[in-house]
Amino acid sequence: MKRRDFVKNSVVVIAGASVPLAALDIVDPNEVLAANEDIHWAFLLDTHKCVGCGFCVKACKTENDIPFEAKVTRTWVERYVFTKDDRRYIDSPDGALYGYTESRIALGKGEYQEIDPDNVGKAFFVPKLCNHCETPPCTQVCPVGATFKTDTGPVLVDKTWCIGCGYCIMACPYGARYFNPIDKVADKCTFCYHRLAKGLETACVNACPFGARKMCNIRDINDPVTKIILNQRVGVLKDEFGTRPQAFYIGLAQEVR
């Protein structure tokens, strides 16, 4: 056989074989087990119950090995204080990792504002985390498909494949993503996927002493938390982006963005 013919034939064989071979996908049993039609995880946050203790943030950082010193966090609590003369103050120092133990409001750049308690109109706390959106903009923009929505709802990052471009961080309207200071890849709340797989609740739900955070399988209409979402008036953050968040809020104020 001439060299030319050999090359030609090889190309034909490879091209011909690759078509049927591509149809064979290697099936991972874990993947099949994880894809459960009957489960879709959702989150419920009751802002009336949150007191800003920061236990959830501590629990999350401990559970997921995010250093306390790192100024990023998978979940955080925001404090809103509106005075009677209509001044609005919001802060979240260290994401409320150490709780709100001081009454003064952090203004950034090391400055603080003391507020007269008699002048406070309304004040409340809002816990936040990744909304694990139904149509997540972050997974859409990942150029390598390193971040993806799992079949049961949580949006995850494959830290062995992320190239660290930061596009997903830019695309998230909720600021839920950041660069992990240790792995140097995009990182975010996983709904404690590893715990859910074992039948446990997330670390933050587990740590919340006031029941401000709850989790449920939104496909199970008998689940008490699902019932709240279905029967009560709940809101989501920034619905104008069309992301269909899966974290629902009770008592959401319009000022919360």
Binding site: P67, E69, A70, K71, V72, T73, W76, E78, R88, Y89, I90, D91, S92, D94, G95, L107, G108, K109, G110, P137, Q140, V141, C142, P143, V144, G145, A146, W161, C162, I163, G164, C165, G166, Y167, I169, M170, A171, C172, P173, Y174, G175, A176, R177, Y178, F179, P181, I182, K184, V185, F241, G242, R257
Partner: protein, 429 residues
């Protein structure tokens, strides 16, 4: 204030200063290198469009600058990718974009578009210079006493001919045709390459400043502006250098009896710059119109984000936008070029200002887009790291940016040894 615990400094923390309420995870993640990225791709695309004006539309007055900008565009090409690689947190995984592209992402096709464009430019250069390669091969082969350097060049030229040594009329005609074809498909691809950089920003719905369908068009226009400006500037600098060398017979080519005289060089410079400057003006008008339209539209419609955008545009970034970008970068060069009796020197000053203006536009888009929090209740200030104290502050600091700017000139210097960007005598089509 900034903790320096090794490994605990979060990406972005070193150069971000937060004010009022900013979400805990928010930093200026896209910094100077992402300013450089659209700037450099813009220069590539613009330089190519300029060269195509001659090759496709037959604007013969641009003959010389066309060849120059084609080679320069090729030198700029690898640099369009450099800022991205410097910016990645995992640069060694950069290849994953080509290996496992995720096509719903606006940046996944970057590698494909970029490579397509690179092949078009490389192909065009090859067809333009094939005659030169063959001639050089023959000339060096005929040389009886070849030095080591000559042999080295012979090897390079021999490889570059790809075995196509035919120089008869018919094959040269085919070269012309191929150049024209490549240049004409190159224009849409160049515009796509850059419009696509605009799309990367314009499609981020989370960012109130970026999200506008005008973004790709704005980017293309300002790309052409910056590309043409850079070509004029480099062309003038190169011509001045050649005049200087010709006067003192310092370069080898200057002693050649066929070498262009100083008057010829001067005449060519005058006419080429005058012509190109007109094109620069047209594109400047288009770019400025679109940018101002975008701003007026935002001010007029006053959607939710306008409150914070107004504060960023009209107060915090006023100097950067209205003084540096529009004033120094658009209005002043425009006046300089519109005033009667335009000279090469005045045009050159104008091009420097235009280049600065386009750079400021990229800055104001990329950094300005991150100057306010997603909460619309706080601001972030970007402090460009000047003195690097680790790899990250080097890569995403002043020196990283300067490395990116310097690279095309170094590449151009090497490229010019093999593919001379200036015409000699009556050659070229």
């Amino acid at each position: 204030m900034i903790e320096q615990v090794a490994g605990m400094v979060v990406h972005g923390q070193a150069w971000t200063v937060k004010e009022l309420f900013v979400l805990p995870n928010e930093y200026i993640y896209w910094s100077i290198q992402i300013v450089m990225y659209p700037y450099m791709t813009g220069l590539v695309a613009g330089a190519f469009v300029l060269s195509s004006l001659y090759h496709v539309f037959g604007v013969t007055k641009l003959k010389e600058i066309a060849r120059f900008s084609l080679v320069f565009s090729f030198a700029l090409l690898p640099v369009a990718m450099m800022p991205l690689m410097l910016h990645l947190q995992q640069p060694f995984r950069g290849i994953n974009v080509l290996m496992t592209p995720h096509f719903t992402s606006a940046i996944s096709a970057f590698g494909i578009v970029f490579l397509t464009y690179a092949f078009i430019v490389a192909g065009e250069i090859w067809f333009v210079y094939r005659k030169h390669f063959v001639e050089m091969t023959n000339e060096l082969q005929a040389k009886p006493d070849r030095t080591g350097m000559d042999s080295f060049y012979l090897l390079i030229y021999k490889c570059l001919t790809l075995g196509a040594m035919n120089l008869d009329e018919e094959s040269l005609q085919k070269d012309h045709k191929a150049v024209k074809f490549l240049a004409s498909i190159g224009i849409p691809v160049a515009c796509f390459l850059h419009g696509y950089a605009g799309f990367i920003f314009g499609s981020v719905k989370a960012n109130a400043l970026w999200m506008t369908p005008l973004m790709p068009v704005i980017f293309i226009c300002s790309a052409v502006v910056s590309g043409i400006a850079l070509c004029i500037l480099c062309y003038v600098l190169a011509q001045e250098a050649r005049k200087f060398l010709a006067k003192r017979k310092m370069a080898r080519w200057a002693n050649d009896p066929q070498a262009p005289t100083i008057e010829a060089l001067h005449g060519a410079e005058q006419s080429e710059v005058a012509m190109t400057a007109n094109y620069l003006l047209y594109f400047m008008i288009a770019a400025a119109t679109l940018e101002i339209l975008d701003m007026i539209f935002r001010g007029y419609t006053q959607v939710k984000s306008w409150d914070i955008l107004r504060e960023v545009i009209l107060e915090r970034d006023f100097t950067k936008i209205f003084i540096l970008q529009y004033g120094l970068g658009n209005v002043l060069p425009f006046i300089l070029m519109m005033l009667p009796g335009r000279t090469v020197r005045r045009t050159t000053i104008a091009t420097v200002l235009v280049l600065f203006g386009v750079f400021m536009m990229r800055w104001n888009v990329v950094i300005g887009g991150q100057a306010f929090s997603l909460s619309f209740a706080g601001f972030m200030d970007y402090h460009l790291p000047i003195i690097p104290h680790d790899m990250e502050t080097f890569k995403e600091g002043l020196f990283g940016a300067l490395t990116v700017i310097a690279t095309p000139f170094v590449l151009f210097w090497f490229l010019a040894k093999v593919v001379p960007p200036f015409l000699k005598g009556d050659e070229l089509h």
